[in-house]
């Protein structure tokens, strides 16, 4: 029983149908406005093509969305991810310019900064019981300031091929950011499925006090998810910084927390917590990036960009809403009956 119908119903059971339909429709629009966009070519051992561009460009949002999914699943939220990107980028750029450290150590230092930021968020939320939106708002505001301070208000540019590889390198024909997303996704799936972490995360999000009484280490789980979100954001920051070989503390990751939250929501994760899908969060990030690309390719004047983006996203979210789903189900019943 693996006919098209059963595939559709499997996808539907996992909430994956509508995000994939939306992604497919956006790609269809892209093919209509620019038929050559998805053509694959291989040049200097690197595969070029529209799909790869979208994956590559969507990588920072996808990376952050993976971490954000876990945070949201515990009923929290992390607004500081964009600022953490800026800090990680600033730390890396300053180390490259100011020291002779090898690239791997610089990458570790950047990730370390993100981990520290995540632990700070986690401590405020889990240790002091501050509401997540407030706790991470502190770093949203102050974090970018820290990055600007590190950069002395300038854009720090650098020449370091080993570090730039994180953003522009090619491995087995694919851009490095794409591999990083796949690697982080696989690692997180493994950690959440093969250990109890995934179950605990959902339990904390569904009912924190019940979980506590059932013996789930609620505080440790919350601390862990914010730390993971910080690490993911730092990795995204390193990718973005390596991409332009410069740390632009004012602009890197600006408003990306909103795109990441949106990606998670488009993927069907509830902001109330207790239910999440890492794979669909990445699909959500691809939807957002595909929309960006479609708008650029369509040649519509830039002042319409945001309006078009929001109209499409409203449509996607409405299709996924329980009300619309119930309507669709009753329509289907009428047709099949």
């Amino acid at each position: 029983m693996t006919g098209p119908k059963s595939i559709i119903s499997t996808l539907q059971r996992h909430g994956a149908l509508w995000p994939l339909v939306a992604l497919g429709l956006i790609w269809l629009v892209i093919i209509i406005v620019n038929p050559g966009f998805f053509a694959f070519t291989i040049q200097d051992g690197r595969v070029f093509g529209g799909v790869i561009d979208i994956f590559n460009r969507g990588a920072p949002v996808a990376l952050i969305a993976i971490g954000m999914s876990l945070v949201i699943a515990t009923g929290g939220i992390d607004l500081s991810v964009g600022a953490v990107m800026a800090i990680a980028g600033a730390v890396a750029a300053n180390l490259i310019v100011g020291t002779d450290l090898p690239a791997p150590l610089i990458i570790l230092a950047g990730l370390g900064a993100g981990l520290a930021a995540g632990l700070l968020n986690g401590t405020l939320v889990a240790g002091f019981g501050i509401q997540p939106i407030v706790a991470t708002l502190i770093l949203l505001v102050a974090g970018r300031g820290v990055a600007q301070l590190l950069n002395d208000g300038q854009i720090i540019t650098f020449q370091n091929e080993a570090f730039a590889f994180v953003g522009v390198g090619t491995l087995l024909g694919l851009p490095m950011p794409v591999w990083l997303v796949l690697f982080v996704l696989a690692a997180m799936l493994l950690i959440t499925r093969r250990t109890a972490l995934g179950l605990f995360v959902e339990a904390v999000g569904a009912n924190a006090s019940a979980s506590h009484y059932a013996g789930v280490p609620v505080r440790a789980i919350k601390l862990t998810v914010y730390a993971i979100a910080g690490l993911c954001a730092a990795l995204a920051g390193l990718v973005a910084t390596a991409d332009i070989q410069g740390a632009d503390a004012n602009n890197v990751g600006l408003w990306i927390e909103l795109d990441a939250i949106l990606a998670v929501v488009i993927g069907g994760t509830s902001l109330m917590g207790g239910r999440y899908s890492l794979v669909l969060a990445v699909v959500g990030a691809l939807i957002i990036q595909s929309l960006n690309t479609a708008v650029v390719l369509s040649g519509i004047p830039p002042k319409f960009n945001l309006v078009i983006k929001s109209a499409v996203i409203v449509a996607v979210l409405m299709l996924q809403s329980p009300v619309a789903q119930a309507q669709l189900a009753s329509l289907r019943r009428r047709f099949t009956a």
Partner: protein, 319 residues
Amino acid sequence: MKQLITLIVSAIAIAGCGSGSSEGGADDQLTVGFSQVGSESGWRTSFTQAVQAEARDRGIDLKFSDAQQKQENQIRAVRSFIAQGVDAIVIAPVVETGWKPVLTEAKRAGIPVVIVDRNMALEDDSLYLTRVASDFVEEGRKAGRWLMEETGGDCDIVELQGTVGATAAIDRMTGFNEVIANYPDAEIVMTQTADFTRARGKEIMETFLRAMDPADICAVWAHNDEMALGAVIAMKEAGIDPGDDILVVSVDAVPDIFKAMADGDTNATVELSPHMGGPAFDAIEAHLRGESVEKLISVNGDLFTQETAAEEYQKRTAG
């Protein structure tokens, strides 16, 4: 947070007072308060430094206040300048609206105000002495004229626009389009906003290169240097030689673009002049001598090409 800012601002004000009185004695020394937007870009920093250098050269006691992109900080700074009884106030406003009350206070105190860089929306032009600003339209024209001369008026251009709605983006586009309208073979084939940032400049350029045959693109016209630098990275990654295969022209003249020009990666930039301090102080001095001052003083920057790039880069990074 607010209290902290108040504390910092008043600390700056007090520090300003202190240094003023310690230099003391020279009663004829001009004291000018300068409220700057912040230090959000390389250009803004050179602007601040240019004003400070100009004040030093003229022996003006400049009280500097960094508003960190917040109008409330600027208003507080202006009030503290008034309380200190400065001779004049220079404001580089963050936003256009909401200035009437505080400027009225300055007017009552008899302190002339000069607006520099961005504009203020004021119906009553007696509230300020003069405005010193760059002519963005002329910058666009200069970029357009250079490109048309370089290509003989035959060029398919891709445009990287600044932030949607920003005066600099709208006016530079207007000036550029005005020039190329005279050349039937010159055309903007693709255009998109890249928000004045390097990262978006790279991303949009990548998409342009994917959407059309790079061999059909004659030039990139970017509303600022940062986006041009992003586009350069995108072209290099696609195996295109920027500056040769595709010409690059932009506006601002930040130090990094001179390095790129010296390396042959971009071709020309129009300077967004950071030297607005001179004309502002000229106007203040003229006003205090009792002369009348024009309500708008335009500052025009020059166009720089690869020929002088290496020299300019050294000059601009040394100081």
